[in-house]
Symmetry: C2
Subunit: 229 residues, 2 copies
């Protein structure tokens, strides 16, 4: 492999969305089952992007989709929440904690490769998250830059183009096999990270992705494979 | 001022384009007057972007414009250079040195603000430069993301939008008064950095910009004004 840049899915791959969202739900909506709420909110994530992907609505950033999903979920549950609380809940996604290996792994990988996010999150969310968590991105790449959500081809093509690289010089790193499958269809190399806890207790991601170029258990593991190797 | 993010012009403001380009011309084109060559190359910079700005040609990234300007300049001078040399010369713009105060100033400013590039350079140029020079950007913002070159309004508007901020929450920092004037027209705050050497011995930038919100002599000076103040 002649890989020059690594691009990372973020929610679940680099940071713990489930734990972070549940933590803020617990704080901001006392009495609500925070774990169930986090999972239910996330279940609205793909459908909300699908409407954009299918062209049924104009481009909207993820903060907007998160807010709409939140409002619908609160409605469904008959749960009151004022404007300030709703805005704060949306910002929970800006202040997710990295997995314990993420910062150390990215820091090692950055010595040898360009490391960039490639997330469906909007740029400002990713910037807020990176500052808080000290994620050492060389570049913050986002679906927002392309007006398309993963797994639309434009996102993977656009990342390689902005980095000035051929697709096969870019390695997509993700804890989600569908993201990696889409990246491969655009010619990127792929690495699967097994994150058993990424979707909470009910989640059960596959232990490996047989189609991926690499299978690793953490970003430290990825660095050990790519930087030392 | 309720400023949350600082966006920086790069060539001349954060890095020494003149010294860096002349250094590589000296190495790659022995016998050529490197200082005059650097200045002549740069004189083709604004005209090359003007053709894009006026819609006379489709969007092309700065690496492409630099290469076209280089080819034209070599032709004009009757100077031979092979393909490898030309490609290396274009990459001179990727490996410019920061001014002595840049990294320290940005590092201090980053503790309190989002700091991002906002340059006419393409993303890959800015990423290469930041890695080599250790510029601690929170985000690499570029004209390339908007398909418009500064001082087109789309660049300043787009930067505020991607950062999730109102224009007046963004401070544009530049050593060029025209860049700052355009930023102000879009509602951004502005800081002028006096860089007497940015265009080489023939350059004579004004000592201050009376229209700017702040006038400083370095990025350390800017940090002293904004972070301590």
């Amino acid at each position: 492999m002649d890989v020059r840049a690594l691009v990372f899915d973020v929610f679940g791959t680099v940071v713990d969305w489930y734990g972070g969202v549940a933590r803020d739900v617990r704080r901001l909506l006392p009495g609500v089952d925070a774990d169930a709420f986090a999972a239910a909110w996330r279940r609205r994530y793909e459908p909300s992007m699908d409407r954009v992907r299918r062209g049924e609505r104009a481009w909207a950033v993820l903060d907007t989709l998160h807010r709409e999903s939140l409002d619908a979920l609160l409605d469904e549950l008959g749960q009151d929440a004022d404007e300030v609380t709703r805005a704060e809940l949306v910002l929970a996604w800006h202040r997710l904690d990295p997995w314990p290996d993420s910062v150390a792994g990215l820091t090692e990988l950055r010595e040898r490769f360009v490391v960039a996010s490639l997330s469906n999150a909007n740029v400002s969310l990713l910037v807020d998250m990176a500052k808080r968590a000290r994620l050492p991105w060389d570049a913050v790449l986002s679906a927002e830059l392309f007006g398309h959500y993963k797994p639309d081809a434009e996102v993977y093509d656009g990342a390689a183009r902005l980095l000035g690289l051929a697709p096969e010089q870019v390695l997509m790193v993700a804890a989600h096999v569908d993201d990696l499958a889409a990246a491969r269809r655009r010619g990127l190399r792929t690495a699967y990270v097994y994150r058993p806890d990424e979707a909470g207790p009910r989640g059960a991601p596959p232990a490996t992705d047989p189609e991926a170029d690499l299978n690793v258990a953490s970003l430290k593991d990825l660095a050990a494979r790519l930087v030392v190797g």
